[in-house]
């Protein structure tokens, strides 16, 4: 079984400041890792994912996350946030050979003008 911990339920940050949303996981098997974003009153959308290869993965809108196997982490970062980044962000893990994504409880990012 897998589990995901998102340490911060809410993160306020000023516009153009950097942000890090933390995600730690536990699993007894190898994993795939995902970050999904949910804008108000919408479904979730994939932001980025790590399956294999380079441990640093990037999204098209400037976010990046680094898979750290030794620390079992997959933190999400952006060097300069915009108002439009205000949303809830979910980290998720998929164990190898499984079909079931396990989601964290989410982190609400609020960007302050």
């Amino acid at each position: 079984a897998q589990s995901v911990t998102q340490l911060d339920s809410q993160v306020p940050v000023f516009e153009e400041a950097p942000v890090e949303l933390r995600c730690n996981y536990s699993s007894s098997v190898s994993v795939y890792l995902f970050w999904y974003v949910q804008y108000p009153n919408q479904g979730l959308q994939l932001l980025l994912k790590y399956l294999s290869g380079s441990t640093l993965v990037e999204s098209i809108n400037g976010f990046e996350a680094e898979f750290n196997k030794s620390q079992t982490s997959f933190h999400l970062r952006k060097p300069s946030v915009h108002i439009s980044d205000t949303a809830e962000y979910f980290c998720a893990v998929l164990g190898a050979g499984s079909y079931q994504l396990t989601f964290g409880k989410g982190t609400k990012l609020s960007v302050i003008p």
Binding site: V4, Q42, L44, Q45, F90, L94, G97, Q100, G106
Partner: protein
Amino acid sequence: NAGVTQTPKFRILKIGQSMTLQCTQDMNHNYMYWYRQDPGMGLKLIYYSVGAGITDKGEVPNGYNVSRSTTEDFPLRLELAAPSQTSVYFCASEGLAGGGETQYFGPGTRLLVL
């Protein structure tokens, strides 16, 4: 492509009533999922399907039933609605290979049971 569509968008039920939440995808995806989202709790998997005629329980299946007679449709049935089923329900689909591919989510159904 419309992607993943869900109906209805909103519904209020009385305790003990039944209803079916509809989910349709037009991407020819084999894998489909039903989640519920409660405030501060993330998403919990209710049921999933790896293809037409094949379904399996997720983390929180009690009080729900599903069927998958076609590739496109994956309805979720609530037989005896309870206040604990007040939630936002999301359907998702995933490509042919499953496992590690992108899940595409519908817009959700907001259900209130009184």
